[in-house]
Assembly symmetry: C2
Homo-oligomer: 370 residues x 2
Amino acid sequence: MSVDSAAAAAGAYALADDRPVRFLVLADGHFGPMTSKTANACIRYSPDRVVGVVDSVTAGRTTEQVLGFGGAIPVVATLEEGLALGPTAVLVGIAPAGGQLPQPWRETIAAAARRGLDVWSGLHYFLSDDPMLADAAAAGGARILDLRRPPADLVVSTGRVRDVASTVILTVGSDCNIGKMTTQLQLRDAMRARGQRVAFAPTGQTGILVEGWGIGVDAVVADFIGGAAERLTLQGATQGDIVLVEGQGSIVHPSYSGVTYGLLHGSLPHAMVLCHQPSRTTIYRNDWVPIPPLKDLITLHEAVAAPLRPAPVIAIGLNTFDLSDEDARAAVERAQDETGLPATDPVRFDPAPLVDAITRFHEARIAARG
Amino acid sequence: MSVDSAAAAAGAYALADDRPVRFLVLADGHFGPMTSKTANACIRYSPDRVVGVVDSVTAGRTTEQVLGFGGAIPVVATLEEGLALGPTAVLVGIAPAGGQLPQPWRETIAAAARRGLDVWSGLHYFLSDDPMLADAAAAGGARILDLRRPPADLVVSTGRVRDVASTVILTVGSDCNIGKMTTQLQLRDAMRARGQRVAFAPTGQTGILVEGWGIGVDAVVADFIGGAAERLTLQGATQGDIVLVEGQGSIVHPSYSGVTYGLLHGSLPHAMVLCHQPSRTTIYRNDWVPIPPLKDLITLHEAVAAPLRPAPVIAIGLNTFDLSDEDARAAVERAQDETGLPATDPVRFDPAPLVDAITRFHEARIAARG
């Protein structure tokens, strides 16, 4: 695997290559369904590229046993054990709040780089700017790839996406870390299986890792959030009649709402899919903020979109991973009853209700354009 | 004048010093009421520190003649003429969309630095990172101060401002470049004249220049917009019973709304003052976006604040600089009638209606806390 260096410098990664990449995922102490988002998406959507996970807590189990997917990929306790699995690269598999690199990880990453393994990272903290890691990589002949490093030539958004013919669908959420990327990837795969020409526009390090291009919109200079979203949407429109833009955060999240909001006004979606985890009642790590009812969230999203480009919420994507099958089905029915919209958990169940809603919306929009 | 270098590195500028600074403001081709925001605020709020303005278009006039304030400060055509006025520093007096430095300005700034003048800049483009300018400054023994360079240790916001006792007031707007900073500075001065203990929390390069501390929230990494706003509000609360947070952009501005929204959710105001320019009907440089009616803007702002901390809009600040006295008075009355709130132009008229509204709100809040 090689990354075109000019594209990498611009923040656009072309991951396709003849040489296979074999990731050893670093997630020590944090490997689990809710704590290793980057690792989990890579394991779910690119399991062939993962040879193992380092986590001393769950060592001895498989990713299937820890996450419920990923098959027999082993979890090992140490970097040394992981090296025996034949990786070509390590992947920093978590993205802690604030993006700082836990100090013990620096040592592990440096050791891997000295052994010649490339280092892939989606952290805010750019590993290639860390002299110790840069020295280790140089010593080992390894590369450090910071997926979140933004393009150097971003500009502010100016509504240019209004010129494209494609239908733009944005996932929004009642909270962060709730399935906005996963929903779009499930929809992408289901729509491609139907023969639809669809593009996924990645806005975070994990999506970039899965798709091979994108911009981490939370890592750009704040004035350019909208401009990054605009560029991603325009790029997606060259690849699909329907562009599925990866949402970020929530417009009611006290830490990340600025990014969420700028992404909404930069991508100017024609319609939105609202993602929610029924078991949550307050915002993740901010229990002083109650999650509003779904109907109120729909009203709020439609109200803030309207002054620039009116966009309805047309479906609900639920994340029911922590519910029984019976409770999950009840949650889907309750969401449908509460909102009057199609709903499902697109990972646990058939994503068809969401695919149908988007397809109907797209076809009606095309028909209205004549 | 000296800037504490550690504070400067952290983005917090301590401008107070025994040595007087004498600015020559660079605004060539852009000096005017609507085009040189940074220059204008410096001239309005620190006229004693400005010896002249360079602008070949309005050269020969005074700032009073061009802007309507600033007295007899002369506008000259060239840097050479300006040097005769005895400046100690040049101030880059405009902040173009996107923050890029116009190429001819680089030459002028380098020439000034080579002559030993310090360079103050609020641009996104950090002048101290420009090798040509850094070399020129080194050659002239001058310093380059990038007011927008953010602190290196920002974190995400987590609602910590809920712990402070001070009343937090944020200006919001129907558009960018409409008077959100100016309104707060007029209120600051009027409240201080009444003996109230009030702080102004600067969120942009011009406010930082005027007040002597602050963070340019549009220049931070996007994930930290809220965290920067939180830090500024906490800092302001150490200085005032009432904290006037400088607003940025607009939640209906297609380029800047993400910053505006993150600032709102990071500062968590108790109440908002809505700023508007009656003569505008569409968003600045984005005429595809109509400015919603004031009542709709109030509803929208209160709706997006409510999930985190309910905050009413309690007054309207108008910018009537381009209206006749008669039309300005009519605009104030119309805004009052439309919204049922106190309104005035706090620059043109007595800011008392806004000061009274904030004072009443603050006193009622203190009384309710017991």
